[in-house]
Amino acid sequence: MRRGWNALALAAALTMAAAPLAAQEKTGNRPGFTLAPGTATIVLMRPEIQVGAQSTGGAYEPNADWTDQARENLGKALAEAQGRLGNRVVNFVEPVGQGAATAHEYRALFTTLADSVITYQFFPGNRLPTKKREDSFLWSIGPEVASLPGVQGADYALFVTTEDHYGSTGRKLLQVFAAAAVGVGVTSGMHKGYAGLIDLKTGDLVWLNADQAMGGDVRTPEGAAKRVAQLLEGFPGKPVEAAAPAPSAPAKTASR
């Protein structure tokens, strides 16, 4: 029973914590950055994909089968989408040995960078004072990325990270029970998706789309296609987007 109360207390805390996220921005653009269609070569880094279940208490349990399904589905959806991005998108040729380890570390650094942008830039109430000036969007993974084997000759690198925690039956029951009996909201599942464009000359993050509540079940082909469409929404230089009046200021996407 005590455990049950713990879970409820946790759930209540999580809900309260989740509330401010609703007002959060989800897209950032480096001021002054534009990308005309057909002018650049973009290397698509191998996406970081993780899928698992969320237990009743909220703990994450990785699921290898789901992760494999998501890898395949997202891979296909990305391959299909990359031809429509307006610029030449090539797949990153995974180097061997140390190069592969460094590439993996850069993908981890991108994920941490995107987490930091969400925490300290997209959430206005928590923005760092030095990041508040003139709508600045100054984030970088460092110019050293230019020497990563496999990115030479490209202008930009596109990083993609997804992490999905699907709520278990117990978690969903808790959600319903907590809402009905106690009147608190419990989040079930977590679906985070980050897509970011790095300028390979400077390492600067020029565009980021990051949301911790994305749609699309990545375990199915249709869901993966939906997820990819959402990840690449507003991608710079994308023809459909370029036709619409392009916002010059950093885009502040409203919550969906």
């Binding site: 713990n6 207390a9 999580l14 850069y106 981890a108 941490t112 300290y120 993974i141 050293e144």
Partner: protein, 199 residues
């Protein structure tokens, strides 16, 4: 790196998440002005601007950053008294944090940091790389370097610490950042801050 709460301890999870944005009040630390840190008599004079995070890792500590504590984290521990811990307890009954001892020598500081991190971050990947004597606020102190990786991400981080035992209390300043780009990019600013420490 000090957001332990969101990974450890049931109650702490919610509290940490809520406390971060609400109590936030991340403040600007201006360049060139002496500032007292970590609710203590320890004073430093940074030569560049920093952000001070509203959330503290423990009672007598405070964290400064350029881009967020996951990318560059400078933490001050301002006079931790004997029998106190570096951070808030993660799980006092099951995994108590090591405590500052009256008998501590400066050479015990890296071990205290290592054992505290291993528990607080729940990681087996922590190594003290090296240590050497170096004055801290004009008193005999220590400089040490370390590296660690959190269990939930594949991003190795490097760290450097400068500290001393003064008047029976532990004074310590640490800097840590991913070894890719961020450590080298920020360590000079950290060393300048540590060099400027006064009591």
């Amino acid at each position: 790196m000090k957001r332990f709460g969101n990974r450890f301890g049931m109650g702490a999870i919610g509290l940490a998440l809520i406390a971060a944005p609400v109590a936030a009040g991340n403040r600007l630390i201006a360049a060139g002005q002496p500032v007292a840190v970590a609710k203590s008599v320890l004073t430093v004079t940074p030569s560049v601007e920093w952000n001070k995070l509203g959330a503290r890792p423990g009672r007598n500590s405070e964290t400064w950053t350029f881009d967020g504590d996951a990318l560059n984290d400078l933490t001050f521990y301002g006079g931790i008294e004997p029998e106190q811990t570096l951070f808030r307890e993660v799980s006092k009954r099951n995994k108590p944090l090591p405590r500052v001892k009256v008998t501590m020598l400066v050479t015990d500081i890296p071990t205290l940091v290592e054992n505290s991190y291993r528990i607080a971050l729940d990681t087996p990947l922590f190594t003290v790389e090296g240590m050497e004597p170096m004055a801290f606020a004009g008193k005999p102190g220590i400089r040490f370097t370390y590296n660690f990786t959190r269990p939930d991400e594949d991003l190795p981080r490097k760290g450097e610490g400068r500290g001393a035992i003064i008047g029976g209390k532990l004074y310590l300043i640490t800097f840590e950042a991913p070894r890719l780009h961020y450590f080298d990019a920020g360590v000079t600013a950290f060393r300048q801050v540590a060099d400027s420490a006064k009591l």
